[in-house]
């Protein structure tokens, strides 16, 4: 493959070109209610060529890898239609590398029947838990991707990228009230990461039933404690996306807003993106432009100190590439994405964070989140009221929203341990590229004056 890609790149006549070819095999099993919902497998092969000419990008994407030279020429012609300015593209050292992975239990040799039987076990736990369980969703997916990347600068990287994940969702119903709860697991290490999940399946079912009798939270502004998993989602959604330089680099007003050196929070606030973190969901040796990944401080001691870059955004902003150009699949060019993003631990003990809250909300676990730059909204899986310094009753419909710049400044206490979200099928979405797997983590945090949505 190395020869084929490098041979094809010889016909390029632009400033820079690269090819990425992927060969993906995947399989899946899912149950919805008592019935098997889906079972199957697929093989996808395809690639993308990128060509850069005078600041313009031409892309050619394809499933048919038969005539790569034709595709290279096509991308170059397209780039010439687009270009007309000056290219910004930070240079990096060419590398040749091969990254293979060790799977403890290789899901590729496990028969579909065995995957199905395991999911059936989890599904039965959920469905048999309580008569209030209305239905379930249990999903399993694995994928093994081989990626070849070659650039006109001489870089060649070959990488194996395995993933396996499950989600167990319980849906409980009583009258018109329907409540969900879910648990996920998985990772890159192999099939064992989705085994022995029976206890978690039981917990999901238990929580869905408990939520039926929980009242909806009364909407309003509260002091909120976010648990570590929710902090991870918050810092990813509300702040992390603002650190992706493609939002910023050609937007003078955003550049003013995100000026390095500006205060974003209390002294103890540290936010980090680290694509080199061993074992992380978003860990890679190189990004999809052949740039080595690294640990980047986004906020250090409350001050904005860094941001995430591709080679283009780094050159535009006169900063260094950070190895954050990633793509979901071959039909997408790499864009600036997070890798493993977390809020670092502080020193506060949870009981000290709660003890002087007269009326507040403890928001537990993620149920999704999204952002449009300054405004964010995300749902907690559930919550507890905090009354007179004590954790009180379970509540549902806990949705947090607001302006991220204000909320970050309102964080006044940061817990003393970081926890990571368990891997699952859900990933980050941006510019129609979803799901991209990222690591999300953080400690308990306390936010003053945070809007919690609910019905009046």
């Amino acid at each position: 493959m190395q020869d084929r890609l490098q041979e094809a790149l010889k016909v390029q006549d632009v400033e820079y070109a690269d090819i990425r070819v992927e060969d993906l095999t995947e399989s899946w099993v899912s149950y919805r209610g008592p019935e098997l919902n889906k079972i199957g497998s697929a093989r996808t092969m395809g690639g993308i060529i990128r060509a850069l000419w005078k600041g313009g990008w031409g892309y050619a994407t394809f499933n048919d890898i038969g005539d790569l030279r034709k595709r290279v020429r096509e991308a170059c012609e397209t780039a010439r239609l687009v270009g007309g300015d000056k290219s910004y593209f930070e240079s990096v050292e060419p590398v040749t590398d091969a990254i293979s992975t060790e799977l403890k239990k290789d899901f590729r040799v496990i028969p579909l029947a065995q995957k199905k039987d395991l999911m059936e076990e989890y599904n039965k736990i959920v469905l048999g838990h309580d008569r209030k369980i209305q239905t379930s969703f249990v999903g399993y997916a694995d994928s093994f991707k081989r990626i070849w990347f070659a650039s006109s600068e001489g870089t060649f990287i070959e990488e194996e990228n395995p993933d396996v994940n499950i989600i167990v969702t319980a849906m409980a119903r009583e009258g018109d009230i329907v409540q969900h709860a879910f648990e996920t697991s998985g990772g890159r290490e192999g099939f064992q990461t989705v085994e022995n999940f029976h206890e978690k399946a039981f917990q999901a079912a238990t929580r869905a039933v408990e939520l039926l009798s929980a009242p909806p939270v009364v909407g309003g502004a509260y002091t909120v404690i976010a648990n570590p998993r929710l902090t991870g989602v918050f810092i990813h959604e509300a702040f992390g996306h603002l650190s992706e330089s493609d939002f910023v680099y050609e937007n003078q007003r955003m550049r003013d807003l995100m000026v390095l050196g500006k205060r974003f929070g209390v002294d103890g606030l540290n936010v980090i993106d680290d694509g080199s973190l061993p074992g992380g969901r978003g860990t890679h040796r190189y990004d999809y432009e052949g740039v080595p990944t690294q640990k980047t401080y986004l906020i250090k001691d409350g001050i904005l100190t860094g941001r995430l870059h591709s080679r283009e955004t780094a050159a535009k902003m006169g900063e260094k590439p950070t190895g954050n150009a990633r793509a979901v699949q071959f039909h997408h060019p790499p864009i600036v994405r997070m890798t493993n993003t977390y809020m670092d631990k502080g020193s506060a003990k949870l009981e000290d964070m709660i003890k002087d809250i007269k009326l507040g909300v403890m928001a537990i676990n993620e149920a999704g989140g999204t952002t449009a730059l300054e405004m964010f909204t995300f749902n907690a899986a559930c919550g507890y009221m905090i009354r007179d310094g004590k954790v009180a009753e379970l509540v549902r419909n806990v949705t947090l929203s607001g302006n991220v710049f204000e909320i970050l400044l309102n964080i006044d206490m940061i817990g003393d341990a970081v926890e990571w979200l368990p891997p699952g099928p859900k990933g980050c979405g941006k510019a129609n590229q979803r799901p991209l797997y990222t690591g999300l983590g953080g400690p308990y945090i306390r936010i003053r004056n945070c809007v919690v949505g609910g019905r009046q």
Partner: protein
């Protein structure tokens, strides 16, 4: 539309599957080429050519279903083999593959789109960008144009064998405006299967959302009347689409499961799924299971008339496939227009909210209709006029209650396209006014 030739790849795949032991089989092949141009941050950023092939194979063996897909036309043995492997453990088939039918005549192919090349798409994009910049040079403008030509073929072992060609033209324009910590996004997009399209009108539409947002209007927490723009209806339609999904009905999770024939919405509310609109964005003559498409009334004058079914779910539920394919995807959703103009609707509101976009759609618990969602782009209505954009507002309520509390639908309608993670449809909708909903302001 209906071509019968024995050497088609889809028929060869079906033949291979039967030879390898399948009791019945279907093959669907989709291949398309797309050209697109992309303007962002005030300039032409990239252009792309793409070529795609996808082959989906479904088999039934010993009454069990198996599925696999590939992108490789030379991998027929592989894809058929994997489908048969899956069938060993597959779910029990509650259907038979449909035989050949006469297909409804629909227009999905406009030869005028074929000569449209990237330089012309670039010119049209610039035109929209210039229009937006002429309104307000501070808007960071963007635009996207894409043209796709698709060949689809389908064959099964019951003798159905169809093929069709489609053209698709997608044009969008918009931008973002940043003031201090305030960031405003707005855009407008149209997709259709023909070329004739007014790009200036698309740019003007996007500009309209910026124009209404020139001022920020504070809003107070309370119950107020709400107008949903055609785009803003997503929050209501998300729940309705889940509720009308035959699989959710069969599994008992749809709150509409025992409401067939009953009134579930205001009598002015009629919702039809119509795949037979000529050149409509999702128009086609057959679905991916080889079932002919049909116009389907879902809710007629407020009365629940039909759920949507695929073959297998229909078989389980004792219903018939409605031609919505294996995933039960809606095609072109159409809501009947009302009898007031948008301007009249607005004039009748003293203190209210016009909602256009939401943040975080699909999170929480959409199936039972409940929503509590951040308004991404919305406007305050004051004394019959748009007073300005609202900020940091959440809208809470129940979609089914809202549909019963419709107070007006506009005569004007427009096409919208939703392609988010949880909501996926194209539709032709009016603006809809709903009695009162909770708005929570910070």
């Amino acid at each position: 539309m209906k071509i019968r030739r024995k050497d088609k790849l889809s028929e060869r795949i079906v033949g291979t599957a039967l030879r390898k032991g399948a009791d019945s089989a279907q093959a669907k092949i989709l291949s398309f080429e797309t050209d697109e141009v992309n303007f962002d941050d005030d300039r032409l950023k990239s252009a792309e050519s793409s070529q795609r092939t996808r082959i989906d194979v479904r088999v039934i063996k010993d009454c069990k279903v198996g599925f696999s897909s590939t992108t490789d036309a030379y991998d027929i043995d592989g894809v058929v083999g994997r489908a048969l492997e899956a069938a060993e453990f597959g779910s029990v088939a509650h259907f038979e593959m449909p035989s050949a039918h006469h297909l409804p005549p629909v227009k999905t192919y406009d030869p005028a789109l074929l000569p449209l090349a990237k330089p012309e798409m670039i010119r049209l994009g610039r035109k929209m960008m210039d229009r937006i910049k002429a309104y307000n040079p501070e808007i960071l403008a963007g635009a996207e144009l894409g043209k796709t030509v698709t060949q689809a073929e389908f064959a099964n072992s019951s003798g159905a064998c169809y093929s069709s060609e489609h053209t698709f033209f997608r044009v969008g324009a918009g931008g973002q405006l940043v003031h201090g910590t305030d960031i405003l996004f707005a855009d407008h997009e149209i997709g259709q299967k023909k070329r004739a399209l007014d790009v200036d009108a698309i740019a003007d539409h996007a500009i309209g959302y910026f124009r209404m947002a020139e001022r920020v209007a504070p809003i107070q927490t309370g119950k107020i009347p709400v107008i949903f723009t055609p785009h803003g209806l997503s929050v209501l339609l998300l729940s309705l689409m889940l509720g009308l999904d035959g699989k959710n009905v069969y599994l008992g999770s749809s709150p509409l499961r025992d409401r067939m024939g009953k009134t579930i919405a205001d009598e002015r509310f009629t919702l039809v799924d119509d795949p037979l609109i000529d050149y409509g964005p999702n128009t086609s003559a057959f679905d991916d299971e080889g079932v002919p498409r049909q116009r389907l009334a879902l809710i007629e004058k407020g009365v629940l008339r039909s759920f949507v079914y695929d073959l297998d779910t229909a078989g389980r539920a004792g219903a018939k496939s409605t031609g919505h394919g294996q995933e039960r995807r809606y095609t072109n959703l159409v809501i009947s227009p009302g009898d007031v103009s948008y301007a009249e609707m607005l004039r009748g509101i003293k203190n209210g909210l016009l909602v256009h976009q939401f943040l975080g759609l699909g999170q929480g618990n959409p199936i039972n209709g409940e929503f509590s969602i951040n308004v991404g782009l919305g406007y305050k209505i004051e004394n019959g006029e748009i007073a300005g954009r609202v900020k940091d507002v959440m809208l809470a309520g129940n979609a089914y209650d809202a549909l019963r509390n419709i107070t007006a639908l506009s005569r004007e309608r427009e096409w919208v396209s939703e392609s988010g993670m949880f909501v996926f449809y194209k539709g032709l909708f009016p603006c809809i006014q709903v009695g009162e909903l909770s708005a929570v302001a910070k």
